[in-house]
């Protein structure tokens, strides 16, 4: 079975490819370039196309599937009504799939399930990354605020941190938010 993964994010495409690599007798093709997409799909002649929902080329590809006889086989979005649940899950995960007519439904389902899991895995990776970045940014702003308090009020570092923590607790806010306010206030007062 030939599977084409169309995704402008090379990282996500790699994550999905890795997941599908465990499937037996499947050949996987990744297309990340928008230019020449339709011609490339024509060359690959896939049985299944997986495409992220955010891809601006979806309308172009659907049009191609609708009118093109190049593939010699009708290909349609996988919207078998009996399997609405599976489609809803894939839309939730952010993946659309197109399959050649007449493929065994259980086969498609297992591939789709796998793709959905990989999309989720990628989304988790991204949110972990965003969280890690956020934590790093938090730490930076707290350090800055500590330095401001040390300079302006003669605190030691632990005292400066205690002051931030106490204020955060009193106001029911995160330490990073208080630190942010200190830094902003300092800048407004002409500090650097």
């Amino acid at each position: 079975m030939r599977i084409a993964i169309v995704d402008e994010s090379a990282t996500r495409a790699a994550v999905i490819r890795e997941g599908l690599a465990t499937l037996e007798d499947c050949e996987i093709f990744v297309v990340t370039e928008r230019r020449g997409l339709v011609a490339r799909i024509g060359e690959i002649a896939p049985d299944i196309v997986l495409m992220d929902l955010g891809n601006p080329s979806r309308d172009v590809l659907e049009e191609y599937f609708a009118v093109s006889r190049v593939l010699g086989r009708p290909i349609a979005m996988f919207v078998d009504e009996s399997d609405a649940e599976s489609i809803a899950a894939s839309v939730d995960a952010g993946v659309s799939s197109y399959v050649v007519d007449g493929l065994a439904p259980h086969r498609i389902r297992s591939i789709l399930d796998l793709a959905v899991r990989r999309f989720h895995a990628f989304a988790r990776l991204q949110s972990d990354l965003a969280e890690a970045k956020g934590k790093l940014a938090d730490r930076e702003v707290v350090d800055k605020a500590k330095r401001i308090l040390m300079d302006s009020r003669g605190f030691t570092e632990p005292q400066a941190y205690t002051e931030l923590r106490k204020t955060a607790m009193n106001q029911g806010k995160r330490i990073a938010d208080i630190a942010e306010a200190v830094v902003t206030a300092h800048q407004l007062m002409g500090g650097k």
């Binding site: 979806r58 609708a66 809803a88 839309v91």
Partner: protein, 406 residues
């Protein structure tokens, strides 16, 4: 109080195009809030995804190319799901932009061309070119596609034989012209202007010249959702009418262009957007800006009223170009997608004008004409097709037959 459940929140999907303006402004200027509605807007990059989100419940309503609402209801390309349109988001607002050398060849005088003259020149040009010209439209089921085909066919150019029409996503239209992938694009703003600014294309026609009052984007719901959320739907219709009033007031063009340009909406150039929403077009790089009144048509003459006759015209074009044949049952289903009854019920008792009829003979008016109203006063202006043919919805089947012969 209107009937139906209200829970005060609606999620609306949209593409980053200027004619997504009314839901955006209804939210930003508090018109929705005044109606007790909280709007959440979800931006996508393809009509396919806007539609998927609507069908699988990620959104309650969607900004949509009008023919797609009908195609979805009729099950073209995927299993049928009934959509309903209680509100038309706007008329026209698209342009035909050509590669500069082609533009000069078929429209040597410059300026906006005359559709019949440009069409004739294009036909001559095709005969000498020795290859079919390629046209890019934004979707198979778009008004762009139907208007373009209507114009070509009326000029004696067979759309599927003499030229190639392919789909190009709006953000890549300028690229496609530049790279020679297509020779002509028919797209909404700001994408024509983007191509002009880059010197990749010149605007030759506005679709408003092909059909002076042609239906463009609609607000679509899944039919069961619209019935279930009737109160919220009607509140939204009222909020969108208010947003339209604000949108067309020249005093608000600056502020509205700035809002639409924001990263979460169109993520575009406020200057280009301001031009489009004030009906101004820069046709060619380095040229002068032309004021073309009613390039976009969002409010006057009850522009948002979902005329059943407009749905029927779209169906006639779907039959014409899909080659599936006319079917009276399908025609009835298509007509029912547009829901003037919901529009009326939302605005009855307000001071908004309401037409007395739900259908009209499209293209029958050559100049301002007063029409009978259920509520308020209205004068409809010229709504003609460029070839002066009229579409009488009571003779839909004959219209389809006549066009098949053309």
């Amino acid at each position: 109080m209107p009937p139906g459940k209200t829970h005060g929140e609606l999620t609306i999907g949209f593409l980053p195009l200027v004619d997504a303006c009314l839901p955006i402004l209804a939210r930003e200027h508090g018109f929705a809030e005044n109606e007790g509605l909280s709007l959440r807007l979800v931006r996508d990059m393809s009509w396919a995804t806007v539609l998927d989100r609507l069908l699988y419940g990620h959104s309650d309503a969607a900004h949509m190319v009008a023919p797609l609402a009908i195609a979805t209801t009729l099950g073209r390309g995927r299993p049928a799901q009934s959509l309903s349109v209680p509100f038309v988001l706007g008329l026209n607002g698209n342009a035909v932009t050509m590669r500069p050398d082609l533009a000069r060849e078929v429209n040597p005088a410059g300026g906006l061309g005359d559709p019949a003259t440009v069409g004739a020149a294009l036909k001559t040009c095709l005969a000498t070119l020795g290859r079919p010209l390629r046209f890019g439209v934004v979707h198979r089921y778009s008004s762009h596609n139907y208007m373009l085909r209507y114009w070509l066919a009326a000029c004696g150019i067979r759309p599927d034989v003499d030229v190639e029409i392919t789909t190009v996503a709006p953000p890549f239209c300028a690229d496609a012209l530049e790279s020679g992938e297509v020779d002509v694009i028919c797209v909404g703003e700001p994408w024509n202007s983007v191509a002009v600014e880059r010197g990749a294309g010149e605007i030759v026609l506005a679709t408003a010249q092909i059909w002076r009052r042609g239906v463009e984007k609609v607000l679509a719901f899944r039919e069961p959702v619209m019935e279930e959320r009737r109160g919220d739907v009607e509140a939204l219709v009222r909020a969108l009418r208010k947003a339209g009033e604000h949108f067309v007031d020249p005093a608000n063009h600056d502020v509205n262009a700035a809002i639409l340009a924001r990263p979460e909406y169109l993520d575009g150039n406020a200057g280009l957007i301001r031009r489009a929403i004030s009906d101004q077009l820069l046709l060619a790089r380095g040229g002068e800006v032309l004021k073309y009144p009613d390039f976009m048509f969002q409010h006057r003459e009850a522009a948002n009223f979902p005329w059943v006759s407009q749905a029927e015209w779209l169906y006639s074009q779907m039959v014409r170009w899909d080659g599936a044949g006319y079917d009276a049952d399908e025609a009835r289903l298509a007509a029912r997608v547009f829901r003037p009854d919901v529009y009326r019920s939302a605005l009855l008792g307000t001071n908004d004008p309401l037409p007395g009829a739900s259908s009209k003979v499209e293209g029958s008016l050559a100049g301002p004409t007063s029409v009978s109203m259920q509520q308020g006063l209205i004068t409809l202006e010229n709504n003609s097709f460029f070839d002066r043919k009229v579409f009488d919805p009571s003779h839909l089947a004959e219209y389809v037959k006549m066009q098949a012969r053309d």
